[in-house]
Subunit: 359 residues, 4 copies
Amino acid sequence: MPRLRELGVTPGLLSPGSHNAITDVPGVRVGHTTLITGEGPLLPGEGPVRTGVTAILPHGGNLFAQKVVAAVQTLNGYGKAAGFEQVRELGVIETPIVLTNTLNVGSTVDAVISAMLRANPEIGITTSTVNAVVGECNDGFLNDIQGRHVRAKHVWHSIERAAAGPVTEGNVGAGTGTSCFGFKGGIGSASRQTGKYTVGALAQTNFGSRPHLTMLGVPVGQHFADRLLPASPPGPGSIMIVLGTDAPLSSRQLGRLARRAAFGLARTGSISSNGSGDFVVAFTTAHPRPHSPAGTVEPVTRIPDEAHAVIDGLFLAVVEAVEEAILNALLMADTMTGRDGNTLYALPAEEVRRLLHRG
Amino acid sequence: MPRLRELGVTPGLLSPGSHNAITDVPGVRVGHTTLITGEGPLLPGEGPVRTGVTAILPHGGNLFAQKVVAAVQTLNGYGKAAGFEQVRELGVIETPIVLTNTLNVGSTVDAVISAMLRANPEIGITTSTVNAVVGECNDGFLNDIQGRHVRAKHVWHSIERAAAGPVTEGNVGAGTGTSCFGFKGGIGSASRQTGKYTVGALAQTNFGSRPHLTMLGVPVGQHFADRLLPASPPGPGSIMIVLGTDAPLSSRQLGRLARRAAFGLARTGSISSNGSGDFVVAFTTAHPRPHSPAGTVEPVTRIPDEAHAVIDGLFLAVVEAVEEAILNALLMADTMTGRDGNTLYALPAEEVRRLLHRG
Amino acid sequence: MPRLRELGVTPGLLSPGSHNAITDVPGVRVGHTTLITGEGPLLPGEGPVRTGVTAILPHGGNLFAQKVVAAVQTLNGYGKAAGFEQVRELGVIETPIVLTNTLNVGSTVDAVISAMLRANPEIGITTSTVNAVVGECNDGFLNDIQGRHVRAKHVWHSIERAAAGPVTEGNVGAGTGTSCFGFKGGIGSASRQTGKYTVGALAQTNFGSRPHLTMLGVPVGQHFADRLLPASPPGPGSIMIVLGTDAPLSSRQLGRLARRAAFGLARTGSISSNGSGDFVVAFTTAHPRPHSPAGTVEPVTRIPDEAHAVIDGLFLAVVEAVEEAILNALLMADTMTGRDGNTLYALPAEEVRRLLHRG
Amino acid sequence: MPRLRELGVTPGLLSPGSHNAITDVPGVRVGHTTLITGEGPLLPGEGPVRTGVTAILPHGGNLFAQKVVAAVQTLNGYGKAAGFEQVRELGVIETPIVLTNTLNVGSTVDAVISAMLRANPEIGITTSTVNAVVGECNDGFLNDIQGRHVRAKHVWHSIERAAAGPVTEGNVGAGTGTSCFGFKGGIGSASRQTGKYTVGALAQTNFGSRPHLTMLGVPVGQHFADRLLPASPPGPGSIMIVLGTDAPLSSRQLGRLARRAAFGLARTGSISSNGSGDFVVAFTTAHPRPHSPAGTVEPVTRIPDEAHAVIDGLFLAVVEAVEEAILNALLMADTMTGRDGNTLYALPAEEVRRLLHRG
């Protein structure tokens, strides 16, 4: 399966980083655990299983001890994302950001807490508790979602195995069972460089109505209006978008970046449909904040909002990285059959290549 | 332990319902599970255990099938309340509202989902997923909070045993291990009648600095400035406030009610301290909304915002019910010793009686 | 100047109403006052004048007496829109929605109040005051914006002359002096039908960076990367979007529609740049709310959120109507020279026609 | 008329600054213009006039060139406060904060713009436009509010005359015609010191129902339940609260301070009634932000949220300063008769003294 640029197109105006992935932001790591077992009729609690976990680590150190400045944005709140209230209040994230399926959010929060307690045994005893940030999509079209097959060990494994470098995309981790515009969706990533900063995006794609699919302005969805459709519609979906950057921004400013994710999402044809849980989590690796600061006043640096060109560069980087991350997810996801023989087809890359070059 | 009114005082201007509890709103049910085991030094994962679960059911039917119109409000977001995004987007709650300790939020979300799946086996298969609303306070001063001793069965038990009628207060359920103004806190409830409507409040109290405690205007905290203090400060706390009413209000209007909870909270001396997770969940039992509506237009009724006297009556009812629920929690909680011999003392009711009557 | 469809293209999947304008929503009226005087060097306070007023009336009756259910959404808050706080709290609009230039917001609020006082002499004496909703864009590249040439009479005239039927577009009213993607911007409108409902959009366009301009997926901006540019960049802009519908929706639901305006805006290439004041005002003409309701409970109807197909139809209608309104504004605006000889060129319609048909 | 402390009471736990006013924050200035003319029957547009303007200047320099970090908070949005959207987006205030009557908001915004243009003639020509922050209360019970008697010269005068030092309170400026708990309201101020920082509050008080009035815990309103009432109720009111500090805080953190204003307001008995426009504006004089920053990265300092004691000190300072500012406003306001002979009586200070000392 090719990534978007392997189709010979150059999306957007800015250049990507070396991996064209969120891991181009120095320090950021991504880890997946992919769960694929069984086939045939749905036996709730048994399978078939088509799900997983994706963990994004803003840095490789102790995130509780060195929190990252962050923001969250809800584009459409029909979803169960966890940990958002505290990020809004305090403007930091203090755990890995973990993506999974909708019904596993509770158990995944619990697993993240366990991991944090192991690394920080003082939590809840001599210091405050810990706020896990978890997102989700509903993969129930292929997956026995009621079975909540993501266990704590899968969460821990994703965190422990998280690595810098290229990000595996498509039917992996939290994207194992997802759909996108009626095709098979999955995990995708991309990045952009603007000035001396990098912006990276990672998307768990599970949204969209076939006729709306647009790739670099081409109405690809209408080309496939009658082909490669699932036997029954997979139902309303969702998208989780994680943004990372190394630009020195405040949480308010990261919120501004997070709101631009909608503009990248819209370029692919999304209307943020009624049943979609569309959430954005944004962080910066610049100036992490210690859990136990040395003093009662701390110096930080940041880009002033009055630096229009720099801010607009970051905004454009977000829009382009989100768009390309989604399209990478779509292109890198292979056909998959899950519960009850439900099948989501891969978007045919060669046909897409021809459509994109026709214009 | 006496409730506030048993001290011979009549707080506020409005009259309570027959139980002076959230259960005065017809249909509302409350259930607790209280976990108290062990004593002595903290052995993380072992105990001592001083925690629990409190479940508030807006009605006794199938909440997923008949959702209640609702709103949430974050007063200070230093907390881990779950399920808020979807309530904001859709304006409904579709599960029991469950309160517990901070580190048990994940497992409690998972347990609520299990309970909902049993009652609604179509969830995630032929219909959408389900959004669990869970709140929390940090009871780690007395409780082995790392042990996450609340198990799924405790959540289910609280839901199944939930009943109308008087609400047990003090060291029960999610209030088992909490502190309040440096005294023992717990669960409290109260209600008010305004016109033909009832407003009820239930509070899980775990907040407050001793010198700030104010009861009906009397600076009770300063009276106890040097007595009955815990050996070490219990650390920043939290409060979860649940409001129920039978008034026909929209989610926007319930948000307006929820914001008035701060005014009741403030009357007790709270400044919503930095480390406090102060959240409000408000629902109305009027015009529940079916998961599968019969048509694409539905009639509802509601109180117009222009009915100033009615709206102000509801606002006052919220303020008074929240204030009294908090004071009931404080008065009904008995002295408790937990992990490491940490002790939270009961607020001495007789001394308080004298203080309140001196004015 | 042609509207978009006169170039032989059929944007989107839904059909427009008879005028393809916000006035397709029964009852909605639009009125403009266009101010063009002087030329040559800027004499602040004197001219040249290239500005105006556009008034959108949700219905032709007394809006204070019969308020419309409404919502507002700030996409990027670098702007001076007025009246938003009360719309958020109460969910209604009680005046015409008036658009003008940035520095005339104060005087325009004042003029709207005057108009409302004339029609409702009890305001502020025996009843509450009135909340004027006013939006703006910065037309200072062509216009002597410091001169605040919009006077009360221009506001009143726009309101009084507001009419149903086709909406005049381009260099009129509040769009007289605006820019869009470095071309001349202006006022544009469009509508969509979905089921038995109509959604209309009106946009005051003053935003966008030339390279980003995208029309129906075609990178038109890059085609004109070096041509028809203003001699100096017009600076960061803004967009005001007004949405009207006859669908029976609550203010919460109208907020959901308003958030979809970002998805239509994004289709044209916007990244909601740093200096842009991007605001959305949405109203429904269904079930207007009387200032003096007859009783303390009122019946209303509304579309349940669970009616996925209906809600998604409305969302798509918003996205498509906003996109087309913006493109209509761009195409219908003619070249204009203003202060200091600053010139904004019309987007060449014939060239655009060829570009759109090449794909 | 005495201030609260002149009654021999010591409210709160923290100490005030030397003036016990917002001007204790170094650099902050306050100026009033008071308009009192005519008596007898209301002649709309003619009089009687009982209104005014109060301007708060965060510093004495050019506020557009040196903006102050700021936040706004809407407690109840039934009001017409202007300029809030941009403060939310950018976290700064760039003009004086001006308070006036409800129907004069538009003209006051316009007057503030005029003042800013005079000092910064490049606005809207070679740089961005300017965002005026204006708040209001409805003084229509005493004042010919339809007459909008506040003219531009009154706004300019308030700004020009703004001074450090003691703040005139009571029936002055924007408090000239306001009511509070059915008594005469007005302008009040207070301050608190916490560590090395100062927090100041200024309130324009126009809210409250007589039975709710509480002073330092004493139900003063019920003592005056049947006396000194206006002949007809003045209708629902409002409160504008301005907070200043010299603590180095981000806009997010100032938002946290602003939300604590509700807790001070609640101590006086407010329930933030339905028709009340209750708004908070908070700024810090620390690290002003230049309109034209020297570089694209700037150093700032701030208090970390993890410094619990410092943050809680600031929160308590806000609560206490707001409470005392309101009570000062109430005590310092003298009886006033306005339009149609409508009279608001002064709260009798000697009786209050006795009530406060009885406890």
